[in-house]
Amino acid sequence: MVTGLIFGDDIKSIGLAFLFIAPLMQYFVYEIKNKHEYYFYYNLGLSNAKLWVSTFIIGIINLILLSLI
C-alpha cells in the first residue's frame, strides 16, 4: 500500500518500487543488522560489489518483465 502511494498502483510502478526497495532492504538487513552474514557469500567467492550489482540487476530485470505484462 505504501509503495502504491509513493510509486503509483500500476504494475510498472510495482517493478519500480522493487528496484528501490530491494537495495534498501539489503542495506538494512545486511549492512546494518547482519553484517557478519556477508561471510557466507564471501566464502562462495562473492564480494560486496558483486552482491550489490546483482541486487540492482535483479531489480531492473523485474522492472522490464513487469513492464512487458
Binding site: H36, E37, Y38, Y42, N43, L44, G45, L46, S47
Partner: protein, 229 residues
C-alpha cells in the same frame, strides 16, 4: 596448489603498524597455529589472507595462482570468522546444498551432529550447534586452505574435542591456519606454532619459549607441561 605463500603483509591503523612484513607458509596437510595476545592482529591477518581486509602491501599465492581478491581465492581459501555467519531464515539442509559441492553434501547430511538439525532454520539453533555446522561446512568446502578464527567459541568441551579430532582426520587433504584464545587447543592441534607480537611473526620452537615471549605465565606453563600440578 599444495602451498599457501603469504609474504610482505603490512597493515597500519592510524599510523600504528599492526602487521609488519609478515611472512608465513602453510602446506597442504599442515596445521599452522597462530597465537598472540588480544588485539595483536591475528584476525586482521586472517582477513587479509582471505582478501576481505585492505592493507598497504600483500603477496598471497596458492601454488602458482596469485590471490589479489576474493574471486581469485574462490575454491582455494575459505575463512571461518569469529561470529556466526550463516544466514537466518534458511533451513540447514538448504544451506548445505548452497555451500557445498554435490560430492561432499552427504558427509554433512549423514553426520550424527548435523542430521537432527537438517530441517531446522539457522535462527532456531543454539550458538554451539551453529558453530559445529559452520566448521564442518568450511572444512568440506572445495577450498584447499582453511582459515579458522577462534573456531571453538561457544562450543562445549565434547564438541571441541570432536572438532579437533575431525580436523586431524581431514587434514591430509587441506592446509589449516587456526587461531584460538585458548592456546591449549592450538598447541595440541598445530604442527607449527607462530606467535604474533608487535606486528611481527615468530615461529615458536618450544612451549617454554611462550613464557619468554610473555604469552604464558610460568604457572600456566607448569600446568601445561604437568596438568597434575
Amino acid at each position: 596448489m599444495s602451498t599457501l605463500h603469504i609474504d610482505s603483509i603490512t597493515k597500519s591503523y592510524d599510523n600504528k603498524k599492526i602487521l609488519s612484513d609478515i611472512y608465513l607458509t602453510c602446506k597442504k596437510g599442515a596445521i599452522v597455529g597462530l597465537i598472540g595476545r588480544n588485539g595483536s592482529g591475528k584476525s586482521t591477518l586472517l582477513k587479509i589472507i582471505f582478501s576481505v581486509e585492505k592493507c598497504e602491501n600483500k603477496f598471497i599465492r596458492v601454488g602458482t595462482k596469485i590471490i589479489n581478491n576474493l574471486a581469485d581465492g574462490r575454491n582455494l581459501i575459505n575463512y571461518l570468522p569469529q561470529e556466526n555467519f550463516l544466514p537466518d531464515n534458511i533451513k540447514i539442509k538448504t544451506l548445505i546444498n548452497l555451500f557445498l559441492p554435490k560430492e561432499n553434501r552427504n558427509k554433512l547430511i549423514n553426520n550424527d551432529y548435523i542430521n537432527p538439525l537438517l530441517h531446522k532454520k539457522n535462527q532456531e539453533l543454539s550458538g554451539g550447534e551453529k558453530r559445529i555446522i559452520e566448521i564442518l561446512l568450511i572444512i568440506h568446502s572445495n577450498a584447499k586452505f582453511i582459515l579458522l578464527d577462534e573456531p571453538f567459541n561457544g562450543v562445549s568441551p565434547i564438541i571441541r574435542d570432536y572438532i579437533i579430532q575431525y580436523i586431524k582426520e581431514t587434514k591430509s587433504s587441506k592446509g589449516y591456519i587456526i587461531t584460538d584464545h585458548d592456546y591449549e587447543n592450538v598447541i595440541h592441534l598445530a604442527d607449527k606454532i607462530m606467535f604474533l607480537k608487535d606486528g611481527s611473526l615468530k615461529e615458536v620452537m618450544s612451549q617454554k619459549q611462550l613464557v619468554d615471549l610473555g604469552y604464558l605465565s610460568q604457572t600456566n606453563y607448569d600446568m601445561l607441561i604437568d596438568p597434575s600440578k
